[in-house]
């Protein structure tokens, strides 16, 4: 156990190092430079560009830039090139904005897809099963932004509620109930949209996992010895079918920083995805690289946790 933890920690640190190198190279070897983003701006005289380059170490060789960048990152002194704000603080602010979306979306995904998946596996071939299969395929196949516009039109015309942005402007002296309802309405659509893909995929996965287990010999045994069907389904089958999903708790973690670029752009939601998108547009390398780095760290921690959970939950696995 301890040797597994040690080995995989070392492995993950090495992986992280290579991720940092690759992302750094991708960004810096791409044609163009951040100092050339706005060539028409009269303020960008050659002296300005020179100062800019010197200030952000762009005149140093690549490996020195790499070392300086990650030294700054680990000491928390990285600043955005666009507005000179500390990158970590900027990300933290945006992260707090994205967090409600993430939390509501995850709760929706996990509470909806399990009942749907289990039910359609138990009643395989029924109307419910075929209907939910078709709906799941629809949700996987529809372009996210098209679906978003359909939902917005539907909700706005039927319920007359504002949905764009995090809250309605100029609500200063409204009653608290009104304020809370306003926030909830704004929150609802983007989190539903963020959850659709997850619901569709996860419910399909739950269904196939459940079907797999229901075909096992021990289920036939349980049925043969005369257990009531509910006992067979929920005590014998479900517990075994749930095993792989325990590990998926670890895989939620990277979603924390993802934040959908498209959904946040549609809803003018000032979250992580939007910030990353704006950073890409402005060639704000420190922000791009930091977001990338944190997300890689979260992926690695997530897989690590899921490995550990697997070991704890399933005694057959000894890594």
């Amino acid at each position: 156990m301890i040797s597994f933890i040690g080995r995989s920690a070392i492995q993950k640190v090495i992986t992280l190092f290579f991720v940092s190198v690759v992302s750094f190279l991708i960004i810096h070897l791409a044609p163009g430079e951040p100092s050339q983003v706005d060539p028409m701006n009269p303020k960008f005289t050659p002296e300005m560009v020179e100062r800019f380059r010197r200030q952000f170490h762009l005149d140093k060789p690549l490996y020195a830039q790499y070392l300086l960048f990650y030294k700054d990152l680990f000491t928390g002194r990285t600043v955005s090139w666009k507005d000179n704000q500390a990158v970590l603080k900027k990300i933290w602010d945006r992260f707090l904005n994205s967090l409600p979306l993430f939390v509501v979306g995850t709760i929706l995904t996990w509470t909806l897809s399990f009942p749907v998946g289990i039910h359609s596996a138990i009643r395989r071939g029924s109307l419910f099963d075929r209907g939910s299969t078709l709906v799941a395929y629809f949700l996987i196949s529809i372009p996210g932004f098209f679906f978003a516009y359909l939902l917005i039109i539907l909700v706005v015309t039927n319920f007359q509620v504002p949905v764009i942005g995090m809250q309605t402007f100029g609500m200063g002296d409204a009653s608290p109930v009104h304020l809370v309802m306003n926030r909830i309405w704004h929150l609802l659509l983007p989190s539903i949209l963020g959850a659709t893909g997850g619901i569709a995929i996860l419910s399909r996965y739950v269904r196939s996992q459940m079907l797999e287990v229901e075909g096992q010999d021990y289920i036939r045994t349980a049925r043969a010895k005369g257990l009531p069907p509910d006992d067979v389904h929920y005590r014998h089958a479900l517990r075994n079918a749930l095993l792989p999903f325990v590990t998926m708790f670890g895989l939620i973690l990277p979603g924390l920083i993802g934040g959908s670029v498209i959904i946040e752009s549609i809803f003018s939601w000032p979250g992580m995805g939007r910030m990353a998108y704006e950073a890409i547009l402005a060639r704000d390398y420190p922000v791009i690289l930091t977001v990338n780095f944190i997300s890689a760290v979260l992926v690695l921690i997530g897989t690590f946790i899921s490995d550990l959970l697997y070991m704890v939950v399933d005694p057959r696995i000894r890594l």
Binding site: T133, Y137, P254
Partner: protein, 390 residues
């Protein structure tokens, strides 16, 4: 099936003939696949889409296309579907070939039907080329990891690789040093390939050569760690970054989508190869003295191709969606080419005045992607040997 051998076999032939009904793999596949009605519908849509795309290429390209997607008629902008063109205001060359605007016109008066046809081909190529790239990389790396995975990378191999890659990187910065490093790397590569450093039997290996031959890690570890590294990147964000930094072009989008989506295929192929190489038929072929490449491509690959095919079908669907998403953010295929993604994202500004500009491409993308997904899932079921028995 009985109709094929009507005559009862002569007694001495009984043991030489197969007694089981003869059904080719293809027939077996088709009998299972046919039962899945959704998958058959998916296949039909897929074929229709393919024909439409080819027709679109033929009808909308060239100097004098039958349906010109680029003709701008500002006086005829935002006409609804099935509108009859106002012939009095149009020059003869601007009149749509069909006599009506079958799917309406957009904000510049361009015929949406022609643009959708042109976009069908673009979407098709984006999907197929991107998936093609990812499949080729996936099969190559997965095959190596599965077949040669147990081979060990020695320290001298690593040194050679470091020399070569450092040479290439330096070549961009300071050509002289890069060239020197490349030269050393090439010498090392030549030495390794020709086996110059090998110790002749009977002689004690020197300290240096023992050091150079010390084992580092297996090829399998190397490739799978590479997969891990790639999986650490948030895919859509990475694609967005690269597409935004590179000059806008349809080929860049295809290549970038392909280069960021090969990890699944690699894992599938590796797993299949690991299972296959232990099987008796591979041992038999190897015992016959068949070369490695022939074993891989003639004997193992056909058995490993099923999951690849499925993930390719699903991959095309997601590539089309990714392209649409990029178009929405303004990083899609650049303007003269119409794609479904950019027709949709341009149309969104007119969603109340001209809803067909949003709904036609949106529903088309939905239907095509749905068809690919249903077909892919049907393929997975039909190719699954455990289901085939039923």
């Amino acid at each position: 099936m009985q109709g094929r051998n009507p005559a009862p076999p002569a007694p001495e032939n009984v043991l030489e003939r197969p007694l089981a009904p003869r059904r080719t793999l293809w027939q077996q596949f088709w009998t299972v696949f046919r039962q899945n009605r959704l998958a058959v519908i998916g296949l039909v849509c897929f074929l229709l889409f393919f024909l439409t795309a080819v027709a679109g290429l033929l009808l909308t390209s060239g100097n004098q296309p039958v349906l010109n997607p680029a003709v701008i008629r500002l006086q005829e902008k935002l006409r609804p579907p099935f509108a009859v063109p106002n012939l009095a205001t149009l020059r003869p060359s601007e009149v749509p070939a069909l006599g009506i605007y079958l799917l309406g016109t957009d904000e510049l008066g361009r015929d949406v039907f022609a643009r959708m046809l042109q976009g069908a081909w673009v979407s098709l190529t984006v999907g197929f080329v991107a998936v093609g790239i990812s499949i080729v990389i996936g099969i190559f790396l997965g095959g190596i990891a599965g077949y040669y995975g147990q081979n060990v990378v020695r320290l001298d191999h690593v040194l050679m690789a470091v020399l070569l890659s450092a040479g290439f990187v330096l070549l961009a910065l300071s050509p002289a040093w890069g060239a020197v490093l490349l030269l050393f790397g090439a010498i090392a590569a030549y030495g390794l390939l020709s086996g110059a450093g090998r110790t002749p039997p009977g002689r004690q290996p020197t300290v240096l050569s023992r050091f150079l031959h010390s084992k580092t890690l297996t090829i399998d570890t190397l490739i799978m760690r590479l997969v891990d590294i790639m999986l650490c990147f948030p895919t859509f964000f990475l694609i967005l970054t690269v597409v935004a930094l590179l000059p806008a072009s349809i080929y860049n989008i295809m290549i970038v989508i392909g280069l960021t989506s090969w990890m699944g295929t690699t894992r599938f192929v590796r797993a299949e190869f690991l299972a296959l190489r232990e099987q008796d038929f591979v041992a038999a072929v190897r015992a016959l003295g068949v070369g490695n490449l022939r074993i891989i491509f003639r004997h193992m690959m056909p058995n490993a191709v099923a999951p690849v095919l499925v993930s390719a079908t699903l991959g095309i669907a997601s590539a089309i969606l990714t392209e649409a998403g990029l178009s929405f953010l303004g990083f899609g295929v650049p303007p003269p080419n119409a794609t479904w993604g950019n027709i949709l994202s341009d149309g969104q500004n007119y969603i109340f005045d001209a809803p067909w500009l949003t709904f036609i491409p949106g529903i088309t993308i939905l239907v095509v992607v749905l068809a690919f997904n249903l077909f892919g899932e049907g393929l997975r079921d039909a190719l699954n040997p455990r289901l085939r028995e039923r």
